[in-house]
Amino acid sequence: MSRRVAQIVCAIFGIAMFLLFFSPHPTARAITLSITTEYWQLIYASALIVGTISFLRVNLKNIQRGNDTIYRVVSIIGLLAMPVCAIIWGINVGSPFMWTFENIQVPMQSTVFALLAFFVASASFRGFRARSLPAAVLLLSAVLILMSRSWAEGEIANALISTADWVRSYPSMAARRAILIGIGLGSLTTSLRVIIGIERTWLGGGR
């Protein structure tokens, strides 16, 4: 029964959002903004509380069991310290919250992002093999783009840049557009399946 109600609510909102897209009327715009901001904010805020509680519960349980204790403790300290700093001293420039953000969180995030460079190196060594014609084409275009972005200057650099630009503007763009059209159609059929109720897995329900 509750699943049927959720299905009906989903269908009503799906159809409403579709129709509202075509209306410039102030009332329609107000309804759209209300659905996409206020209701969504409410749902997200509630879920964030659930998520945070779940995060705390899982970590505390694992600390009790002695699983990865040090990581769990750091996670919980991080989760609690930032809001506490924000509540006590605010989040303005120079506050402990902002200091922690700029001197701990920014370097940590940048470090994880920088790992990408190392993984690109290992993936290119392992994965870019000319095993077949498509793989060879992929390999050649990757090499061309890399060289165009790294060669300093001069005739060769200009030739590489213009060739790479041609690859990006024509073959690559054509493929990308085809993929995007496919994704758009896939999104459309998935959305319709959900709205008309033939796809119910997302409800946790059977088919």
């Binding site: 994880v112 059209i181 159609l185 896939g186 008309i196 033939i198 897995t201 997302w202």
Partner: protein, 265 residues
């Protein structure tokens, strides 16, 4: 003399969006036709998709090795995104199999809403297959809303838990290669699928199988074998034919009548 002109009321329909409405209605009709027309439904056979055929093998391998399966939907999407919905549909099928094989399923996510929905999807799958006792709520985890906080958490989970199969299905951004390479380093079978065209290149290089764009949306029908869902996938092919015909007509039109603008909406 002062003429009192009544204010023009705001229109309820944006005429500029008429072509979009017509295109949307055509698309809806095609989808409904392929879904509910029994004769056309029964004729349709999808082509084999290697990545989806490998899902069963991957879960089987994880079971044999007594190691978990890790499924994550990426950082780039929220629950409203069709890609996330498609990912949830696949998750339901995967959870049925992990329930049957008694294989542990790990599901880290960056979004608490996705976590709530995923918990429900997985729990129901376990109940449906008759193994509610095998469901472990703590394995469906919200880790962090921050992109690289999420990436680090998933990376740590892979490094410590050593999953035998890693399923990366959803919307991914820069964290894609970090997760895929870590999965590769522990020797996991990796099946990826995303609508992020930039990340497809990373997945193709780092994963064993990659679902490209629309294949992700066809996956739930393919895995479940549900005729209605599979038939709706056929609508995509029919719509592609229509789009190609419109493109050809537009090219011819622009070539013959260079001043024509009807196709520029």
């Amino acid at each position: 003399m002062i003429l009192l002109v009544p204010p023009t009321p705001d229109p309820w329909f944006d005429i500029v969006k008429l072509p979009t409405l017509i295109a949307a209605i055509i698309a809806i009709i095609v989808v409904l036709y392929t879904t509910y027309h029994k004769a056309s439904r029964d004729k349709y056979r999808p082509r084999p998709i290697a990545g989806l055929r490998a899902v069963d093998d991957a879960i089987g391998r994880a079971t044999e090795m007594a190691r978990p399966v890790l499924f994550t939907p990426g950082w780039g999407g929220d629950i409203q995104r069709p890609t996330t919905i498609a990912s949830m549909n696949i998750l339901g099928q995967v959870a049925e199999k992990t329930a049957q094989y008694d294989c542990r399923l790990l599901y880290p996510t960056h979004d608490p809403v996705i976590q709530s929905v995923a918990q429900e999807v997985i729990r129901e799958s376990y109940v449906r297959t008759g193994y509610p006792d095998r469901f472990r709520e703590d394995d469906i985890r919200f880790v962090s809303t921050s992109q690289f906080g999420y990436a680090a958490a998933v990376e740590g989970m892979i490094s410590r838990q050593h999953p035998a199969a890693v399923l990366l299905l959803g919307t991914f951004e820069a964290e894609s290669l970090i997760i895929a390479e870590t999965g590769n380093s522990v020797g996991a079978i990796q099946i990826a699928g995303t609508d992020s065209t930039i990340q497809l290149a990373f997945f193709i290089v780092a994963c064993d199988y990659t679902l490209i764009g629309e294949e992700l949306f066809a996956a739930s029908g393919y895995l479940s074998g549900d005729r209605a869902i599979l038939a709706s996938v056929r609508a995509q092919d029919m719509l592609k034919v229509i789009i190609v015909l419109v493109l050809i007509a537009s090219i011819i039109c622009a070539w013959i009548i260079p001043t024509a603008t009807w196709w520029k909406f």
